[in-house]
């Protein structure tokens, strides 16, 4: 995919185009940005443009090299990610990479490597990468993708140019969803819910999502400390396994965020479809309590991520929410 096809990162692409034109691309980059915002696509586009011998500051998209990169079967591109069922990128993988990079490229002017997620390098593998990262053999191009560059070693960061990817705007997501053949209404809803990630937008199912919102808001409205059964029913029906629960908490967080905005007099909210209900909830609370609500949800999310018992965590959250709403 050439640069021209990348949506939503005009500024980043512009910088790359300029640096390719002036021949001043670095050999090491960190692409930082939320998952699914297009970091990998941009990385591929950059490699394609640098490999292609036709166009000036972009890939032509038709030469053999470009087609191979687009088809994901170019012999000079290495992908590095944690081995299946492993958490970290191991030092052995990096040694292999260093050996591969030392070889002459097959057809491209230089070798390239995309590492994702780079923050999965452990201490020893990250350290063993430092020398390569500073002076790669054959001027290889190294691109590290991460969601949070602060999680990389300072010595790694200092050797790379940091390129930040902003979350995709909802307009860009809507545009892409419509290109994929989605109807206007669902695209509008999903693009609001996707939190700037195309990947999330693709995973979310528009209709089911709207239904879920409704169920959730219904439960929220009935929560009451006087009838304790409402709390347990809610966590019984809404909870699920860890991933589903995290998703649920994300939705709750987006509600909380909207309530905070409404409560502080800002009418720009995400969940426009349930605005009246949210406004109803806000009218029962002051700003301080709304903030407390959001913090409770964040705290629950953290504990669920840290392997807390999902049901208990939800019970606890709903009790607190009921207390706040009362």
């Amino acid at each position: 995919m050439p640069f021209a096809d990348i949506i939503g990162h005009e500024r980043v692409v512009e910088i790359f185009r300029k640096s390719i034109k002036s021949g001043k691309t670095s050999h090491a980059y960190i692409f930082e940005g939320p998952a699914g915002c297009g970091r990998r696509k941009t990385a591929m586009a950059l490699i394609q443009a640098l490999f292609c011998r036709q166009a000036e500051d972009d890939a032509c998209g038709v030469c053999p090299s470009c087609r191979k990169v687009a088809g994901n079967n170019h012999g000079d591109i290495h992908f590095l990610e944690p081995l299946p069922d492993k958490r970290d990128i191991s030092i052995a993988q990096l040694r292999d990479l260093q050996r591969d990079l030392a070889l002459r490229p097959y057809e491209a002017p230089r070798k390239a490597c995309i590492m994702e997620p780079a923050d999965r390098m452990n201490l020893s593998s990250a350290n063993s990468f430092l020398k390569t990262l500073e002076e790669p053999p054959g001027n290889a191009l190294l691109i590290l993708l991460t969601e949070n560059a602060d999680m990389l070693l300072q010595t790694i960061r200092s050797r790379c140019q940091l390129v930040r990817f902003a979350p995709l705007s909802s307009e860009s997501i809507m545009l892409m969803l419509k290109r994929n053949g989605m109807d206007e209404a669902s695209a509008a809803l999903l693009s609001q819910m996707a939190n700037g990630s195309m990947q999330r937008a693709a995973e979310l199912d528009g209709e089911a999502l709207a239904q879920r919102h409704e169920v959730l808001i219904k439960h929220l409205a009935t929560l009451s400390l006087d009838r304790i059964s409402t709390i347990f029913t809610a966590s019984e029906e809404l909870g699920g396994n860890r991933e589903e629960t995290l998703e649920l908490l994300d939705i709750l967080l987006s509600f909380a965020r909207d309530m905070i905005h409404l409560s502080s007099g800002c009418s720009d909210i995400i969940n426009t479809t349930i605005r009246p209900t949210l406004e109803g909830l806000v009218s029962r609370l002051n700003l301080e309590r709304t903030l407390q609500l959001a913090e409770d949800i964040l705290e629950t999310r953290r504990s669920v991520q840290r392997n807390a018992n999902v049901k208990l965590a939800l019970d606890h959250l709903f009790i607190r929410v009921a207390g706040t709403l009362a």
Partner: protein, 564 residues
Amino acid sequence: MSNGAHYEVLARKYRPQTFLELTGQEHVSRTLQNAIDSGRVAHAFLFTGARGVGKTSTARILAKTLNCERGVTHEPCNVCPLCIEITKGTSTDVFEIDGASNTGVDDIRELRDNIKYLPSHSRYKIFIIDEVHMLSTSAFNALLKTLEEPPDHVKFILATTEPHKLPVTILSRCQRFDFKRVAVTRIVGRLRQIAESEGITVNDSALALVARKGDGSMRDALTAFDQVLACCGSIVLDEDVATLLGAVDRQLLGKISGAIFNGDTQGVLAGVKMVDGVGYNMRQFCQELIEHFRNLLVINSVKKPEEILDVSAAELDELRQQAEGFSSLEIQRRLTLLIKADADMAQATFPRLILEIALLKLATLEPVVPVQELLEKIKVMEAGAVHTPALPWKAERTPPAVESRRHEPTHSSTPTAPAASPPSAGPRAQAPGSHSDWERFVGYVSEKNPVLGSILEHGSPLKQEPGSMEIGFPAGSYYLSSIQDSASIVEIQDLAQAFTGLKTVFRVTPITPEGGENPLSLVEKKKSEHEQRQDELKQEVASHPVINEALRVFGGTITEIREA
């Protein structure tokens, strides 16, 4: 298109090749040069310091000076084949080993086997072990003997960012050089040189921005500069630098902090929206905001902030205006909340929400009331109270002050409780005549002489006047017999004099426990207070509806009450 051409990033292209070019590490280069001149070159060096301050570069320069064809001089010639080989990394006698990739003991054994052979065509065989902190323990230990007494033709240079990870046995065998962070002005100077040799037009304020981005590291600054040059070409404008490096606009900072101080929640959220729209990193923004609040705090706390802060006069005026009307305490509280938010954001997936919550909290923070004011209010309330406590000491003392003295007797007078200055603050003429004075005196004695203090705790203060003191002890008790010897009495009199500032006569009287009219000793008092508290608790518990209900449901009894 130039994709085949080899572009070297600035940090590599302008890697210093002589000691003269090495920026900001004069203390290292001078020492090394003097050592070379006087022929006292050690056989093992350890270079430590933050990332990108010149450790590896210095190691290479040192290797070149030692092996240069022109003889061991204090600058390498950089033109002889040997120097060029080292620069290129192809020298057969200088081994640059990646300590983090070759961590095992086998790698070190290989190195040891290699060491005994003479260098092929240079003076020394030089081993540069970079990132040496990653070697395994056994690898370190395998290196010890060689590192201590290598053959004459071998030099070791170890380099690391984390010297604390090296065993002390390694540290003690090396000459250690700590590299400093490079000052902003020095980085600017170096950037200026580079800009000139690259033919780039750029003014000093832009360079300063780049240099500050480096945060003490030359390589970080050069990487940032590279990024700027890649985008801007040969004419670099200030605003381009600011956007490229994601430096947060000071106006935006001012706007948001203004909204925070005015309690304008809507303004705060609008500000965050703007920050996100421009594409700043939320965490970076939070850190800038912390810096901003720190500036405000400094302005509020010191007379001449311009000596501490690195801001222009116009900015200083603006900051002054903002800081006006807010106490340091108010700013500090907000700063604390921001720092917590920053820590939360490091591992969170919703940085924007966390920032929004934190900023709204800052905006809606209730104003604080100084402790002094609160204390005064309490005093007023106490004075107005009609209720006279049954026990005389209760009204006379301020409980927290006595409490704190009991636990930490050396704690000196705090501004929050000036009314009750502890005795250790200095001898002062006090009229000992009340229980709290007695208590203070016992506390003072305990601090000076714990044995005597603990005995006095069992005594009842029968009479206390300036210059004399009469203490009763139970007749026939151990305490009476231990206090009655003359040495103890003299000691207590000395202490009493130091405490009250008056010469004091100390008398001990045996008393009978039955005589109910004697004042309570401290130990008895404590006991009675404890019993009283227990009674209160019992009453409270007995009247608590939930506990009663629990007792009824389970058919239980209350056996013990503990305070959490």
